[in-house]
Assembly symmetry: C2
């Protein structure tokens, strides 16, 4: 008997040919859903939601019920890792993440701890609670930030257009950068292992700021750590998504991850040429969900065609924008569910 009523995503992520592409959407649990905003408005802030397993499970399940996606992704944040290592984050309304303390030198790194994962019990509890509520309907996706992206936040303390401070570290303090990346990697492995134990059926590593690097920097400061994560956590399939990292796609396609996520600027046919067996994920431009319904259906079908010739997990090429109408997201999902391979 199958573990899930709908196990399309797990099979596809393993490279098996299925009747259609499974679909989920980055940031599917969140502000696009009125039901999410309803839960959120009773709370003090974003972190209360992340840290309260019952509520996190509730919003994790919402897109399965409302949008009909083929998987839930646990509602959480990549910044729980720096916090578990000793740097507390805040989520400022209308601003984004903010770290009151940042890493300024070696002394700050030496004060950090490698997280053993036990600090993030609330995430595993939310995963267990989600599995209970889903009752075998669809699998749950776990996730973590890629070590470089986490380093960016630990050094910059907030978002940035260029992450020039983080990049300055790679160029001018390579040894300390590696020391920090090592610690983040170990922490992330411990964290993802416990996510798998708690019941995630696959996981994605988000390298959100990869695009500010270059081929040689990515090779030195990212690939070894990413590969170590993929090697260590191989009980369930894995997806890597390095937004904007066009220069790293050859390396990522050769990586140990089962699937490679593409943003909307990347061409699936180029990736199929590199490796026709690799599972690909993506990549509709989230801005297309602002278009009219006909355009959404047409462009979604075009996107599906562009991935033909290999296993494909349908998704957007970036997180859904918070001001997108949820009905448009549902149309995207329904279009994929009405297609066939």
């Amino acid at each position: 008997m199958a573990e899930f009523q709908n196990d399309l995503l797990v099979h596809t992520a393993r490279g098996e040919k299925c009747e259609r592409s499974p679909v989920w959407v980055m940031r599917q649990a969140g502000r696009i859903l009125p039901e999410y905003r309803e839960v959120r408005k009773s709370l003090s802030g974003f972190k209360e939601l992340v840290e309260t397993p019952d509520l996190a499970a509730e919003v994790t399940v919402q897109p399965v019920d409302i949008l009909g996606v083929d998987a839930a992704i646990i509602f959480s944040d990549i910044l729980v890792i720096p916090e578990a290592m000793g740097l507390t984050y805040e989520m400022k309304e209308g601003f984004g993440p903010f770290f009151p303390r940042t890493i300024k030198g070696k002394a700050d790194i030496d004060q950090l701890r490698t997280a053993d994962g036990s600090e993030l019990r609330y995430v595993y509890d939310a995963i267990s609670e989600t599995r209970k509520r889903l009752n075998g309907r669809v699998p749950v996706i776990g996730f973590a930030g890629a070590p470089f992206t986490i380093l960016c936040y630990m050094i910059e303390g907030q978002g940035s257009k260029t992450f020039s401070n983080a990049r300055r570290w790679l160029h001018s303090r390579p040894a300390e950068s590696h020391q920090l990346l090592e610690m983040i990697t170990e922490s992330t492995i411990n964290y993802l292992k416990l996510q798998v134990e708690a019941g995630v059926s696959l996981y994605q590593v988000f390298d959100s700021w990869a695009g500010v690097l270059s081929e040689s920097l990515y090779r030195e400061f990212c690939m070894p750590y990413l590969n170590r994560i993929a090697q260590e956590i191989n009980e369930v399939p894995s997806i890597v998504f390095a937004k904007g990292a066009h220069f790293a796609m050859e390396d990522l396609m050769k990586s140990e991850f089962n699937a490679v996520g593409l943003d909307w600027t990347m061409k699936p046919e180029d990736m199929r040429q590199l490796d026709s067996e690799k599972v690909l994920q993506g990549n509709l431009d989230p801005c297309l969900l602002y278009a009219n319904d006909d355009e959404i259906v047409n462009k979604t079908n075009e996107m599906l065609n562009s991935f033909s010739g290999g296993a494909h997990i349908a998704n957007l090429g970036h997180g859904v924008y918070p001001d997108t109408e949820w009905q448009k997201v549902k149309l995207f999902i329904d279009t994929i569910k009405n297609s066939s391979n």
Copy 2:
């Protein structure tokens, strides 16, 4: 007799082989220089500097004197074009550009005018004054924003990580987007023609936000307008720099521009394979200028080698970051001047 004592840049931009790569630096006139900050602090703001030809000429010449670059680039801003078309901009300290009024629909476009260029007399005066002060030492580079990048600002009213409103327009209001891009293109052509008359010896078009698009969007909403500019203004050599637009490089390499700028994520050898005759510009990661001196010299020489096999204008792969020590910039420039082809 040569028009300039140092005409390396003009010759190289025309594709002629010279004894070494000429060098200039994006944002070379600006906050990295104490002499610039001295001029700036006596003024009410950035716009006063842009709009006062004597002062704009003074800061334009500073990097020629202090850093020894092979060309001056006129001190100005790409946002003078939306202003000439009817949308005033502000430059907010610590925030960046801001437009009190933005384009929200067709009615707003209909209220804009196509600039005939006469609105920007202060720029041409600054160019003439710069030429007078340089007295034939090096040429002056003119510039403008690419139509799509200007559209981004006119719609968003400020910087953005995703420019999702601008992209929403392309997807959901293609006809109005083209109408606006047409007007921006005509205005830009009028503006660049008058820059050439005033004495610039080449010009660069900055498509700063190109990277948020995709191959098909770039083909529809960018290339036709860029090519029209390059065709109309061909009395002097032209450079196009579309930061992050890895998906558009094939089209840009085939474009009518004499030279194509590369950011640090792009590989010169890939471009040489597309067209070994095209002049390339770039592309040191500006973060490398935070490294120690040996590293700067080594990486600059590596960068020069990576461009071998064709005409090359040395530059950074993005504007110099404002907190860079000017001595490091000078080391970059000196390293290039000490090299030979």
